[in-house]
Symmetry: C3
């Protein structure tokens, strides 16, 4: 069971170039994604309505796609417009089309009820569109349910133990931090954690040799079903960052979008951005590699966790205090799923 | 659910040499195939009745096979005739034996009711026995239900799109062809398609450099459950092939037999034959490789189609005009399966 | 369904060194095994009670183990004793602990009702503790139910056909042997088979060049659920071994313990021991390799047998005379399982 009436990331915009026909499973449905010659991105069922051949094994023709089994041609609405060797095309020969918005370097898809489409609900991550901010968009495939990945992100404390030697820096992070009250939103939450007078974590040390002790902050915002926005910063210790003085500080913006592939696999789209003015590529490259190393630490734990949960459906998880954001997010998602099933 | 009271190809005759004990799953049953020292091919359950060890991991002894777990010896009827260390053999110690006919380079097996065995029902492909015809028998394994492969063959139009650059030659094939009326048979169908004044397809161009425009014909005959016989020919354009003048024409005979391994995997036996008098081996070799290349194009589409169908059992296929032969063949198979279940 | 109120081998003692956290599935349960700094072996659920992360991906700290997802610390009883960043630990935060006995180079685990634990029921194989006996403990993983492996061992006749050229030596073993009456025990059976005036089997010939004809004996003892003890000996033929004269004879002691991993996979712990005084290492090495070669012969047959049985749950095995020990052992295991379910 997934939220359907919402936007999911289907692809990075740059994946849909050079006449690519991308076949991707989203929320258990096989979807074909492509950019027509008019530059517009289309999404439709990746399954010919005739014999079930994959349209992603077909051929782009203008804004249409031709099934390369028996040659049926579909326009960007999913309607069959040509059956080679047959004069007329019955009107029921069509495949499902999905609403798509191609904005901010991301391709967003609406898997739910088409009459409820609302573009204003697309989550905004402005840094991707801001020329002052740099980073390398990337993708990971997870053998785990998308909510296990969101759970991980909802408790930033995990950086202390999972990422001690990469993104975290110290197991003391958990006990020395001070946190803002959890700000519960209608569609997610927001939370800031401070770690004053701490050491730079390894991933920053690699590229910032001169900074000494820092005041570190992480502002996490998550939105249903599974979007993660992180503002991460490091200011010279004691210079008043908590009062708003950002002088001399380093700031990063991180976006992660989890799109269910199936009930137990996930598409994970991510980018980690900086606003350095010198050595921009070097910075981007170093950050990308460091974050990816950290993500593989998460992936090992989460995929093993998925196996553990699969093995015993009766196992009951037991909450600790830092699960509050996670619990709120899961509660919101469950509520939305219930609302959708009541409406339908 | 498979048709049972009919003959399936179990193996090429040449597979059963050198005391080979071939274990092969046919219609979900594990079958042992071997040629005894008397030259006769036997088929029996590939499962010792004692502890379920595979007899194909055993040893041929004359016309018998010995289980190499505890040494039980079975004769070619499947009866246990020796238990080492035990004086008498209880009569219920036997494995199932299957009727076999070894003819025309093929080993045919009857998986159904033994009392209904009728050798006259073995499909005949005379070219395999005719010294004027040459070809290289071969085998492919398919991760797809046998009927999806038969469907593919039942609509020869697919050569236009799947095999444009190999066996087909032109997407115009579909629209320029003229077809005979579909001849519905009690156990299959027959159909001829003409493509007049067309170009030689790539697979023939490779070996026939001098021919220009041709009149091309394909006569397809299919039989239940899944036999495919194709007469394929190319005549210099305009020389009257449609009136029966075969002078100067090239002719090929193609046989394909699909035997279900399981519900979603298939044994695919095939041979593509020519009657050239010069460069016989060169011709055979070239044709074999070209056809195999084409079969891999089919395989990619059909195995993806199987995955699509597996993913959504509720998906309804929608017929187009050229599905008529396919529909007739499937209807016949369903009818036979129903008749068999009524009889039983 | 497994016997639970009994001891299973969980590991060789030497696997639990160097702070190893061994995650191993036993009877379908994920178990963490480790040796604390106090030298004691602990076993607990390999699943953090918080979010289900694997504790075997954690870190040993003294006698405790820390989950490296969010840092929860568990003592050797399985109780959570620290949640980083949280002041108190709720008493229900604990994971299941399993009774363990570390004796005779083996780690024994009790997967059943803890109040019924009885150390006196641990099967004894004294040769592992006796400095006069030498061998190389080893492990095999089986893709087969543990009882199929036990069945194989219960009928020693299989050495004639499965191991003709390795451990057996002659197919005549079955017909020339004389056997003691089957001694049925409350928890297993005992049986001796003699093969007088026989040739040394290949695995002994490799290391004993000078022996001629031998009188060979195999004394098998098996215990529920699946322990195998074998005394194997070779005496110069005709020197009276059957009357107890062991002069000039070679003797081996073999222990095999099968622990179910899942319903269709098994942990197989084994050691084959000799009491030579010269070339001890050479002997151990040679025996280990010979026996392992034989075990791979078993494994090929048994894993294929498992596939055969999986494919057709309705298949009925048919007993022969030499199945009597096997039948007794299976009957005992079934009886115990029934008793356990009545008690519970």
């Amino acid at each position: 069971m997934f939220m359907k009436n919402c936007w999911y990331v289907a692809a990075w915009s740059h994946e849909l170039i050079d006449d690519a026909l991308v076949g991707r499973t989203l929320l258990n449905e096989k979807v074909l994604l492509y950019r027509g010659n008019d530059g517009k991105v289309c999404a439709m069922e990746d399954r010919c309505c005739h014999r079930g051949a994959r349209l992603s094994m077909g051929r782009l023709e203008g804004n249409c796609v031709r099934c390369m089994y028996h040659g049926l041609l579909f326009d960007s609405s999913g309607a069959c417009v040509e059956i080679p060797g047959q004069e007329s095309v019955p009107p029921n020969l069509k495949v499902r089309n999905y609403p798509i918005v191609d904005t901010g370097h991301l391709v967003w898809i609406w898997m739910g009820e088409p009459t409820l489409v609302d573009e204003s609900k697309i989550p905004d991550f402005p840094y991707l569109k801001d020329p002052a901010w740099h980073g390398r968009p990337d993708y990971l495939h997870y053998d785990a349910n998308y909510q296990l990945i969101a759970d991980n992100l909802a408790d930033i404390n995990h950086i202390a133990y999972v990422h001690t030697n990469t993104l975290g820096g110290s197991e003391r992070y958990v006990v020395e931090q001070t946190a803002s009250p959890l700000e519960k939103l209608d569609d997610g939450f927001r939370l800031t954690k401070w770690h004053m007078n701490s050491d730079l974590p390894p991933f920053v040390k690699k590229i910032e040799k001169k900074m000494g002790k820092v005041d570190r902050w992480n502002t996490v915002e998550m939105k249903v079903p599974a979007y993660f926005f992180l503002e991460s910063g490091f200011s010279p210790a004691g210079t008043g960052i908590e009062k708003g003085n950002k002088e001399g500080s380093l700031e990063f913006h991180n976006f992660q979008a989890m799109t269910p592939e199936t009930d137990r696999t996930t598409h994970f789209f991510w980018v980690y951005m900086h606003n350095q003015k010198k050595d921009v590529e070097l910075y981007s490259h170093s950050l990308h590699d460091s974050i990816l190393e950290g993500f593989h630490e998460d992936k090992a734990i989460i995929e093993a966790q998925q196996e553990v949960l699969d093995a015993d459906p009766k196992f009951k998880l037991r909450a600790i205090a830092s699960d509050a954001p996670l619990s709120h997010l899961r509660w919101l998602v469950d509520k939305r799923i219930k609302e959708e099933s009541t409406q339908a």
